[in-house]
């Protein structure tokens, strides 16, 4: 039992065993992809065979009101399977060399500047402090990383904490050494500038003297000749200046600039900063997107790259060194590293506070693993809002395009430029929409399958459901606003990836049909399929078995318990998915609700009424028919058996949310 509950150690690429390969990064097809393709093809063929049998030979024309919904639900699921298989066709694994091991070497002075954005809303200052500390401790040159706490709650405690942390950080040996280094360099520059300034009058006099000497042809004396040669030598060094005086002045200017830069660097050593945007009442604030955009545009941040972290996601020290190499490409023509078109690198999310058995199904090794790798293989790795590094230029560039559109329609959008001009703000899942816009603008994304930050998951049902509802609503909202199938700029495969995700959120209706069908049979004897019997088993079983096997191949290495949990939640959240579709289509206003990070206490049966009702009726129906069977009044025991099997499957899937609603942490004494 303990073996089952302990975490598998090797779900993510471990960087301990770095294999040797030429270049700085490589990618290859995910292991067992061929096996997956083989089984997936058979699965789809069998599924098709089953479906044509259902359409042509087994539709119950006497009960079309039940038969048609079931058939539609089955077709929906089949198409979902086809899309999923296509999306998983080319999953890739990547390996990169860390920043300092790249060959040819990238000098530390060329490493890009990075801003760490920690977004928070109403989280406790202690939680954010832990995250900020870890962010400051990221292994990266101290002059090139600044951590910003973007506090959307504008709390005095947070501000105080940021200031304290900033001071503390500046006292650290690393920072002190850096400050000393910069100060020495600064002093050197100032000294040189002073010397130069002393030289200026003399240079002027010397050149004047030389000019008169040449004019009067008095160049015979050794001193004058030497001066003339020396003058020419100096001019040869930098030919764009006509006189040495101009040269000296240019040098003076250059030194002044360098001094200014050193001074900026010195002030940049205050590495933990606090930004709380003004939130005037009565105006849209654009939630998390507004928070990030304000930080980008308000004029305080300048980093070339942005690492986004949710308040509770604690980064590991190697984060930047392992992720940044993706953003540069070596140009062998000029021997330099150059920026490429990678706009973002996403890393996995995992949680440190999951109770044993993960009752709320937060573990997402399937998504942060094969699914993201599949998306990555088709250049559409998703951005999921945290644990990712973004290229500022890409965000701003793409954001400006959409701002220009909004501005052309409505000049007043200028007022909120700093809230909408970067990361997409038009959906409550700003992350997905942003990635889609980046892809449409020709930028690329990467999924890096190494766990580089660990966060907290909501640990009660209410928050969990709230979070899932937001994802579902946001995704469908994006689809209605910017349909990936018609959005210009996306490749065919990217369209497919985005559409597949959106399509999957319509599953609520199909799931409801699957749950209701057996109940209807138990109470009325009505069946949607004419031939439950050998014929049914012959068509259904092979498709079902291959489907399971294919799923297991995809999830290879992920504990069976977790796969089962994710399957349970895919079905049992059906009311939530229906609600999400309904709320978007009926255009009821949708608000971004920040997922609470602290446990909300209580038992939540009221949140899962539909599931409980279905659960109850299923059990009732089974017992009712069992009673009939005992009394000898059940006409077709085999049909009963099939429906009972189906029901038990349904019940075991539904049990997850019911168990989660009852789940309480063991009280700590």
């Amino acid at each position: 039992m303990t073996i089952l509950t302990s975490k598998p150690p090797s779900l993510y690429t471990s960087n301990k065993k770095l294999s040797v390969f030429p270049g700085n990064s490589r990618s290859f097809l995910r292991r067992r992809t061929m096996l997956f393709r083989y089984f997936a093809e058979i699965n789809l063929l069998l599924g098709f065979w089953y479906l044509q049998w259902r359409v042509c030979h087994s539709l119950n024309y006497d009960a079309l009101w039940l038969a048609v919904p079931l058939l539609l639900a089955e077709i929906y699921s089949y198409i979902g399977g086809v899309l999923f298989t296509l999306g998983m066709w080319r999953p890739i694994e990547r390996e990169t060399k860390p920043l300092e091991q790249m060959s040819p070497a990238l000098p530390v002075s060329d490493w890009p500047t990075v801003d760490g954005f920690i977004t928070c809303y109403n989280e406790s200052a202690t939680m954010v402090e832990t995250t900020a500390r870890a962010a400051l401790a990221i292994d990266y040159p101290v002059t090139k990383l600044i951590v910003y706490i973007l506090d959307d709650g504008n709390s005095p405690q947070m501000r105080e904490m940021a200031q304290r942390l900033c001071l503390e950080d500046m006292q650290s040996p690393l920072l002190r050494a850096a400050a000393k280094q910069i100060q020495t360099e600064l002093q050197e520059l100032i000294d040189r500038l002073e010397t130069l300034q002393l030289l200026i009058p003399d240079t002027h006099a010397a050149e004047k003297f030389l000019a008169t000497a040449i004019a009067h042809n008095q160049t015979e004396s050794l001193g004058t000749r030497f001066l003339q040669n020396f003058h020419q030598l100096l001019l040869l060094k930098e030919q764009k200046h006509a006189t040495v005086q101009a040269q000296v002045q240019a040098e003076q200017e250059r030194l002044k600039q360098a001094i200014l830069q050193k001074q900026t660097e010195l002030s940049g050593l205050a590495r933990c900063r606090y930004i709380a945007r003004p939130k005037p009442a009565g105006k849209p604030h654009h939630a998390k997107a507004g928070n990030i955009n304000y930080a980008i545009f308000a004029g305080e941040t300048t980093g070339k790259f942005i690492i986004t972290l949710d308040a509770d996601h604690i980064p590991k020290p190697q984060f930047l060194k392992h992720v940044l190499p993706y953003f540069v490409t070596y140009n062998s023509w000029n021997g330099k590293y150059e920026s490429n078109r990678i706009a973002l690198v996403q890393t996995p999310q995992d949680f440190s506070n999951l109770p044993p058995g993960d009752p709320y199904g937060h573990q997402a090794h399937l998504f942060y693993g094969p699914i993201q790798q599949g998306k990555d293989g088709l250049n559409s790795a998703f951005y999921t809002g945290t644990n990712a590094v973004l290229r500022r230029e890409a965000i701003v560039n793409t954001g400006l395009k959409y701002f220009a559109q909004a501005y052309a329609q409505d000049e007043t959008s200028l007022e909120e430029f700093d809230l909408i001009g970067g990361v997409s703000s038009s959906s409550i899942t700003e992350d997905m929409n942003t990635a889609m816009r980046l892809h449409a603008a020709g930028w690329q994304s990467i999924y890096h399958n190494e766990l580089l930050a660990i966060g907290l998951a909501p640990d009660d049902l209410s928050s969990t459901l709230q979070q899932r509802l937001r994802w579902a609503q946001g995704t469908i909202q994006v689809m209605t606003q910017e349909n990936p199938l018609t959005k210009p700029g996306l490749s065919f495969w990217q369209r497919l990836q985005y559409f597949q995700t959106m399509y999957s959120y319509f599953s609520g209706f199909a799931m409801a049909v699957f749950l209701i069908c057996p109940i209807v049979f138990f109470f009325t004897g009505t069946v949607p399929v004419t031939a439950y019997g050998n014929d049914f088993v012959r068509h259904f079983l092979p498709a079902f078995i291959f489907n399971r096997v294919t799923f297991l191949i995809i999830g290879w290495g992920i504990p069976a318990r977790e796969l089962w949990r994710s399957e349970q939640y895919a079905l049992s959240l059906f009311p939530l998915f229906i609600q999400a579709v309904w709320s978007v289509i009926s255009k009821r206003s949708i608000h971004f609700k920040v997922t609470p990070k602290e446990r909300q206490s209580g038992i939540y049966f009221n949140l899962i009424k539909p599931q409980i009702i279905i659960f109850g009726f299923t059990i009732l129906g089974m017992s009712w028919s069992l009673g009939l069977f005992i009394l000898g009044q059940l006409s077709d025991p085999l049909v009963y058996l099939i429906n009972a099997g189906w029901s038990i499957y349904n019940l075991s899937l539904l049990w997850s949310v019911i168990g989660a609603a009852m789940w309480q942490p063991k009280s700590t004494k």
Binding site: Q261, T302, V396
Partner: protein
Amino acid sequence: MSSDVKVLQPVGILNATCANKLHEIISNSIQAKQTSILIDCAGIEFMDSMGLSCLIMSLKKVRTAGGSLALTNTNSQIRLLLEVAALEDSFKMKAESLVVIKTTNWKNESIFYLENL
């Protein structure tokens, strides 16, 4: 609103770092009730997207304060960026403010340099 037009002459590359400096100068000038601002772009060699967003932010601030912001001597690269963002008209001063420009003594004391990092 003061009738003087403040002229800024940034020099160098307008990127994130320099943009922040421009931000600061414009905010200060708005605080000093100087809300008619002309940016002479003759010295700007290149402007990136952060530079452009800084101009938009400045426009926003100046407009909110009831003033106006205009650009002059824009090079082809800057014009292209403005065109793509469909913003080129927004940075022109209205006719009445143009009169103001003509009648104002141009003050060049506000020249500043943007360091090229």
